[in-house]
Symmetry: C2
Subunit: 362 residues, 2 copies
């Protein structure tokens, strides 16, 4: 028995459909475009967990008005180079993009800009906001908190989020440096997909609801995920909640709602963004040349057993992106089923996949 | 056969001796006091690897003028809220303290302050600078780069440093949050001590000079250390080199000299400090109450098997500190031998240990 190849979609036509979906859900055109770009960008990079697979849950929360389609986002300046963004429960992509824009604007004037965000929602792939700053010539940090999924160190119940540690720096000819990594050994979105596909988890990744180790993805998804690097990852997850939640005034300490399961109110997600001018201490060309030197030297290190080459953080996703821009975005059957249901509900037909070829199977 | 208890020193008398040592090495009184405070603070917290055990190597570099006893530290402001500190090859403790002071001053005015440092040296325990900011009411990041010790992900030779990810936040009645953790599974200083004591390393901690896994601490100390969390820790180590080295203009990309083995020039260490006002988005009392809530909720999580209580990052060191303020600082035989040699060279006699009691043995 052979598995048929997955349907593959041209990025542009898929993006057009996503745009129409979010227009139909009530977003203004410009905001729908920001969401479409963010989701397609994640799928292009192979971060399927943060791509179009999330549309049904965003749609559900928009229909319930737990995410506002047309928020009144407000920006205040409690200090000269710090801004507070009240997202008014808008979709995270739009609120976060606006916030990072403000961080970059502040950094342009003063060298560094800090933005704290309240009343936001899931903002998709954190690398989106790093790239936004990097493209403008700034180093950046982009943090968000999220609903409980990880135990504190020594605990066995969900308390901290798995939301990523995300930081980036512009580069030269060798490209930028982008780190966007979940606090769990495996990203929550990936555990969700494994549950969806009925695939087992590796060991040491999750505990079930009773605090026992499990390799059953569904049980893990309903239980707690373990932090990477033991107490070190757990400490970083707590730092991210302090910056995104305690400091900003958003939900925190387990108070952020799970967007997939809790419909009793808005999620109360908070974000924290920093942008830093890359040419603070030297001309931009010199900074870029130094980044190139770092990356070239790193790449020329002799490889360990089992490695054919050295990849820089962000490079695997960049390669996947280039490939998928050529070959298209594959969508697995269970996700497609959800998307088609959504298309029908909204009366916005999905595009046809590309003509069948020897695509990947799942 | 029983091992005799380690000699234990009263913190104050040990601190007085360290002060005299650095005066004898040519530092001004105020600077010698900063170094003495930093070393004693590390020993009080049980971070023996960053305490008085380092005196001989600092002394050696001071005698060779690779660390300047009386540097001309200069501060410039390339942007309104960013400062550049040229440490003039002074001892890291003094340069870093001055730099974090400036970060706090900038943050007080503008909400956030960034300081990049060049021409510095090993600054001891990163938590010192976090505490400096926390005591003033600021959140902080304190990064430094260091000589090659970790491979890039997929490499087998030393390229990145093991210098810590260090961040902290003021708290309320429940105390602050302090994370100061080496990028290696085990801190380099601890591997150095294991080599000194002839103790074996755990598995998965180091490779020998040929790139093979080893549990021999001396071989590991001469080889490479593995990052915590695999590629995630390696990515953080590269980020720290970008912020501390590439951005600031200090040594980077493997260019920082090993202070213990390379006497061909100054180390060219760079640092990166951020201070952030804790009351940016709400009154200070409210921020402190939220931190207390976070910590209280974290502490009240049910414990996993093998844990009796939940400890917050920074809390184990804080407990050790309180204990050692009462009982004193134990010093192991091999370190004591080095210190006594230094005392003799400089003509500054060590204090007597406390009267023998049932102290810890090593």
């Amino acid at each position: 028995m052979t598995t048929p190849p997955l349907p593959i979609y041209a990025p542009d036509s898929l993006r057009g459909w996503v745009l129409d979906v979010f227009r139909a859900l009530g977003l203004e055109d410009a905001d729908a475009a920001i969401v479409a770009d963010g989701l397609i960008e994640a799928d292009l990079r192979g971060v399927e967990s943060h791509g179009v697979s999330r549309i049904p849950i965003y749609a559900e929360r928009l229909r319930r008005n737990l995410i506002k389609a047309r928020p009144d986002i407000r920006i205040a300046h409690p200090a000269p180079v710090a801004a507070h963004v009240d997202g008014d429960h808008g979709i995270g992509f739009v609120v976060a993009r606006r916030a990072m824009d403000e961080a970059v604007r502040l950094a342009e004037e003063s060298g560094i800009g800090l933005v704290g965000v309240t009343n936001s929602n899931h903002f998709g792939m954190a690398a989106l906001y790093l790239e936004q700053a990097i493209d403008a010539g700034f180093l950046a940090f982009a943090f968000t908190n999220s609903s409980p999924a990880l135990p504190v160190w020594g605990g066995r119940t969900a308390f901290l989020g798995t939301a990523p540690f995300a930081a980036g720096a512009p580069g030269g000819e060798q490209g930028p440096f982008i780190v966007d990594m979940a606090m769990s050994v495996i990203a929550r979105g990936k555990i969700r997909l494994a549950a969806l596909y009925g695939e087992p988890l590796p060991e040491g990744v999750a505990l079930d609801a009773d605090g026992q180790p499990t390799r059953d993805a569904q049980k893990g998804y309903e239980g707690v995920y373990l932090p990477f690097g033991g107490h070190k990852g757990a400490a970083l997850a707590m730092l991210i909640d302090i910056l995104s939640g305690v400091l900003t005034g958003a939900g925190y300490a387990g108070g952020v709602r799970n967007q997939s399961r809790d419909f009793t109110g808005p999620t109360e997600v908070g974000h924290f963004f920093l942008a830093i001018r890359a040419d603070l201490f030297m001309p931009m060309e010199e900074y870029r040349a130094r980044m190139d030197t770092l990356i070239e030297r790193a790449r020329s290190c002799p490889t360990a057993d089992g490695f054919e080459e050295i990849l820089i953080p962000g490079e695997p996703e960049q390669r996947r992106r280039e490939e998928r821009l050529r070959t298209g975005i594959p969508i697995s059957a269970s996700i497609l089923e959800d998307l088609e249901r959504e298309a029908e509900t909204l009366g916005v037909a999905m595009p046809d996949p590309l003509p069948a070829a020897a695509g990947p199977t799942r």
